[in-house]
Symmetry: C2
Subunit: 129 residues, 2 copies
C-alpha cells in the first residue's frame, strides 16, 4: 500500500501516517497479521525522520491497531472494546454533527453520508489508488 505525507498540510506528519494506516485497514488493503514497514524503512521511503514514524506506530499501538514487536516490527492486531470504541466515536463526531445541525442538515442527510463512506470502504478497489 502506498503511503505519502504532505509537508504543506497543517496536520502533523505522524497523524497523517496514522490516518492513512487506519484507512488502509478499513478498506482491507492492510489485513490483520500483516507487518508494517520498519520505522527506518518507512522513514526513508517518505523522507521523514525515524522518530516521526515511531510516534505514528506508538499512537496506533495505544489505540489498539497494532502490536510492536522487536522481531517483526509493527504487526496489525485489532483489539476491540466495542463500548469504548463507540464512546470515542461519539466524542469525535459530536462537534461535526452540532455544526451540521446549526447549518440545517437533517439526520437523513447524515445517514446518507455515513452510508456513502461505508460504501467507499467496502467497495475499495486497487484501481482507485
Amino acid at each position: 500500500m502506498v503511503l505519502r505525507v504532505d509537508f504543506n498540510s497543517d496536520e502533523a506528519l505522524y497523524m497523517q501516517l496514522r490516518n492513512q494506516i487506519i484507512f488502509g485497514i478499513a478498506t482491507g488493503r492492510i489485513r490483520e497479521g500483516d507487518s508494517l514497514p520498519s520505522v527506518r524503512q518507512l522513514a526513508e521511503y517518505v523522507s521523514i525522520n525515524m522518530h516521526t514514524v515511531n510516534k505514528a506506530y506508538s499512537v496506533l499501538r495505544e489505540e489498539g491497531f497494532v502490536k510492536l514487536d522487536r522481531r517483526r516490527g509493527a504487526v496489525v492486531a485489532l483489539e476491540s472494546d466495542k463500548k469504548r470504541v463507540l464512546e470515542e466515536m461519539r466524542e469525535e463526531i459530536a462537534v461535526a454533527m452540532a455544526k451540521a445541525v446549526c447549518k440545517g442538515i437533517g439526520r437523513e442527510e447524515v445517514h446518507r453520508l455515513v452510508d456513502e463512506i461505508y460504501d467507499l470502504f467496502a467497495n475499495w478497489e486497487e484501481s482507485m489508488e
Copy 2:
C-alpha cells in the same frame, strides 16, 4: 448559557469555547440574532486572556456562525452552504468512521449513534445543565 473552560484538557482553550458555542446553537440555547458576550467580558468571566476569546470568535466567523460587529460584538448569524458543510463533515468524520470499521462497528450502529446525538440536540432541556 454557561460557558466554562477546562485548563487540564489537551484541547486548546479557544477550541473549547468554539465548540461550546456551536453546541449552544445546535441545542437552541443560543439563537440566530443573539449577541455573544464581548471578548473582554467573556475573558474575565472564564479567567482567560482577551485574545484567546477573540480567536474563538474569529474561528466562528470564518466558519460562518457569527458576524463580528464593532457595535454589537459577536452576533449569531448562520451562513449555510449545504454542499460545503457536508464536504467538511465528510472530512471530519471519515477517520472516526474508519476507526469504527476496523473495530467491527456496523453501519446500523453508527446510524443509531447519529440518531442518539440528534435526539440529544433536539430534546435539550435547561434542566440538563
